[in-house]
């Protein structure tokens, strides 16, 4: 008997006391999915929670986002910037005008990614109550390694992308899962509490996260 058959046989033996064979009919789940979480102000909550993670966040008007990105990179001390293909042409022009060196992802090696100062991306959706930014790695965000290996991440989130909490965010992530695209959630920069439960910001992922919140 194959391991698969054997395990399934064991499971069926172990659950023979369960008479109703339809899982949904057997166990009801008393939960309403996809509900918003009541918050006084969604955007303010998002900003507070990002700051609570010791990440930086600034606000911009659509017309000044390019400049806000350049300012963020200056503050982080970054010169070379990885830019995914789907990034707004206006922002790219602002980066050039701001004296930044633009690096395109021409199937860069891990080492080349590691040598780049920062990465600039958009996002799919953000959940205010937990301060979580969700990436679904479309062409405004690039493949997963781009937002992982460089040490600084500047992420532009539009206000209309901010929802109250995870249930609403999952609704907006559904198409990506259905298209089998990977998804990454980021809540602040990388961190650890492994030594005496003292939180230390910045381990292996980008050690600094800078969010530009566009109106």
């Amino acid at each position: 008997m194959s391991a698969r058959e054997e395990i399934l046989r064991r499971i069926r033996g172990a659950t023979r006391d369960i008479k109703v064979k339809d899982p949904v009919a057997d166990v009801a789940v008393d939960w309403v999915y996809g509900q918003p979480t009541p918050l006084d102000d969604v955007v303010d909550t998002f900003i507070e929670n990002i700051e609570d993670y010791k990440a930086r966040i600034t606000r911009s008007e659509a017309s000044s986002t390019g400049q806000a990105i350049v300012d963020a990179l200056d503050e982080l001390g970054a010169t070379t910037v990885l830019v995914p293909d789907g990034i707004d042409a206006g922002w790219v022009a602002a980066l050039e005008a701001g004296g930044k060196t633009i690096v395109r992802d021409t199937a860069l090696s891990h080492y080349e990614l590691s040598d780049t100062d920062a990465v600039l991306t958009g996002a799919r959706v953000a959940a205010a109550d937990s301060g979580t930014i969700c990436l679904d790695h479309d062409d405004t965000q690039g493949r997963r390694a781009l937002t992982l290996v460089p040490d600084r991440h500047v992420c532009v989130v539009r206000e209309d992308q901010v929802v109250s909490d995870i249930p609403e965010a999952l609704i907006r992530l559904k198409p990506a899962v259905e298209a089998r695209r990977p998804i990454t959630w980021i809540s602040g920069g990388s961190a650890t509490s492994d030594i005496e439960l003292d939180r230390v910001e910045g381990v292996h992922g980008p050690r600094q996260l800078f969010v530009v919140l566009e109106a």
Binding site: S2, A3, R4, E6, I7, L8, I11, A14, T15, I18, K21, P23, D26, V27, V29, D30, W31, Y33, G34, T37, P38, N49, Y53, H110, S114, S130, T132, H137, R143, R144, A145, L148, V149, I166, L170, V177, R180, R181, P182, I183, T184, W185, I186, S187, G189, S190, A191, T192, S193, D194, I195, E196, L197, D198, V200, G202, V203, H204, G205, P206
Partner: protein, 507 residues
């Protein structure tokens, strides 16, 4: 012992090994809980570290729970969803397998630890590499995968900071979330200075015991391993049956490194880790971080649904592991333990865990969950597994915090019963314990018998009036199991009966 002495007595690097040698004793060879307790209780540093850590994390968890307006409803939903999965596990496993296969994942099934290890070793060998990077995983600790890889000539590098401390310290994890919780910062500094250079980039010579500096040393040491690794190994927090997605939550980014950079990724996941639908994640991904690290959300969550061309590993494997889980499923009471999402809240609130630490439990699962899960996974034939269900005062704190509402105390009592039944089956002649409890039953059955016994303790109490504790009583034989690691409080000079009578009189 001063630091210098301890360093000079450190082991020589074993040049025959690819990775730091783990401690020699295996979990199953470890002493039964009461014996383990005796040595762990003597370790003052351990108790200080543990008290600090569990107190901090308890407070944070409670605060994060209080922030959520429908926490209790969410717990109930989690309980129901996990029951749905567990009671129809065959259905959901087949669905998940179908979806994962369609998304380009190779699905393997493993009856036990040995089979799972063999699968992982074979895949790794076929990639012609002699090392793997690992993200913290309970399942691979359970199977002792690292040693199986070592024997096959493959170095397994733990990349979670705490796991790195444990591995470099030739140590065993003592907590499922923060495995090096028993180490303080200066111990970590010593371990890094002594060991890192033997296995890769050394720790900076002038490193202090400041946690950010220590974390940076880990970053430097591991980065070269991440960038060159060809095979990554992970566990999995959830598998979503209706999409075939895998979910891993973590903090440091070491997980993302292992899940993203190597060409091949092998995930070893317990068969109970399923959730039926993608929507169900809204319940679990809010309960889990708040219950475990006491954060609103863990820094990173990775969700992947098969192979994505040009992004991440192009060869994905999932090993579905039984290793005793179907035995747990067989018991209608005990099976509730399979809902566990390994958040560690139960150990953080456990007064027994706080005092003895994780090592005394003799298993990769310490604390209350370990006490109910381990003897079910492994059976109750060994002394350590027989003792685990008794490693609790049944205070019920764990029941209150468990995000999936596992009735831990009830299962503990149920497991105690199973242990007694097992022993009865083995030994028809009454054990000391059974004689003792029979006697107690006789004494408690009638008020006057109890009153007689209490006159004795009252006299003892008067004799030793000013002492508070007698200390461990060296009673030989069976009772020593109970007394040898416990200070016996002095019997009171007045019994409850006397106090009550007096109170009635003065009314």
């Amino acid at each position: 012992m001063t630091i210098d002495q301890s360093r000079s007595t450190r082991r020589e690097v074993d040049r025959n090994r690819l990775t730091p040698a783990p401690p020699t004793e295996s979990y199953l060879g470890m002493p039964a809980f009461p014996k383990g307790v005796k040595s762990e209780l003597g370790n003052q540093q351990l108790r200080r570290n543990l008290r600090h850590a569990t107190t901090t994390i308890r407070g944070k968890r409670a605060m994060r729970q209080a922030e959520v307006h429908n926490w209790q409803e969410m717990r109930t939903a989690a309980e129901q969803i996990k029951n749905r999965v567990g009671r129809h596990l065959d259905h959901y496993l087949i669905q998940a397998e179908e979806k994962m296969t369609a998304a380009g994942i190779t699905v393997h099934w493993a009856r036990d630890a040995e089979e799972a290890n063999r699968i992982v070793v074979d895949i790794t060998k076929s990639k012609n590499t002699d090392e793997v990077v690992k993200i913290k995983s309970m399942a691979t600790q359970e199977t002792d995968l690292n040693e199986a890889l070592e024997e096959a000539g493959i170095a397994a590098w733990e990349t979670d900071l705490a796991e790195l401390i444990v591995q470099m310290g030739h140590d065993k994890p003592s907590h499922i979330l923060v495995p090096a919780i028993h180490r303080n910062r200066s111990e970590v500094r010593e371990i890094f200075l002594d060991e890192m250079g033997n296995w890769g980039a050394p720790a900076p010579a002038d490193i202090s015991d400041d946690p950010p500096e220590l974390a940076n040393a880990a970053r430097l040491h591991l980065r070269e391993k991440f960038l060159r690794a060809e095979v990554g190994i992970s566990g999995g927090n959830f598998i979503v049956a209706d999409t075939g997605s895998l979910v891993i939550v973590e903090s440091e980014g070491n997980g993302r490194m292992c899940l993203t950079l190597p060409e091949t990724l092998i995930s070893v996941v317990g068969i109970e880790k399923l959730v039926p639908t993608f929507d169900d994640l809204e319940v679990f991904l809010r309960l889990l971080p708040r219950s475990s690290t006491g954060e609103r959300m863990n820094p990173y969550t990775s969700i992947w649904t098969g192979v994505t061309e040009g992004d991440g590993p192009q060869d994905l494997h999932v090993v579905l592991l039984d290793n005793g889980r179907t035995k747990v499923l067989e018991d209608p009471v005990g099976r509730e333990a399979l809902r566990c999402i390994r958040c560690s809240a139960c150990m953080n609130v456990c007064p027994v865990y706080e005092r003895v630490g994780g090592h005394a439990y003799g298993s990769v699962y310490p604390g209350p969950i370990g006490s109910i899960l381990t003897p079910q996974l492994r059976g109750v034939s060994s002394p350590i597994d027989q003792s685990l269900p008794f490693a609790s005062s049944l205070c019920g704190a764990c029941d209150e915090v468990c995000p999936v509402k596992i009735p831990i105390s009830d299962i503990l009592v149920h497991m105690r019963h199973k242990v007694v039944e097992y022993k009865k089956g083995k030994r028809p002649i009454p054990t000391g314990e059974r004689v003792l409890f029979k006697g107690l039953g006789w004494m408690m059955a009638k008020g006057n018998r109890l009153a007689g016994a209490q006159t004795f303790t009252k006299t003892a109490g008067k004799l030793f009036k000013r002492k508070q504790y007698i200390g461990p009583i060296p009673i030989p034989g069976y009772a020593a199991n109970w007394t040898n690691a416990r200070d016996i409080p002095m019997p009171p000079a007045q019994t409850f009966r006397d106090w009550w009578a007096e109170r009635e009189d003065t009314k």
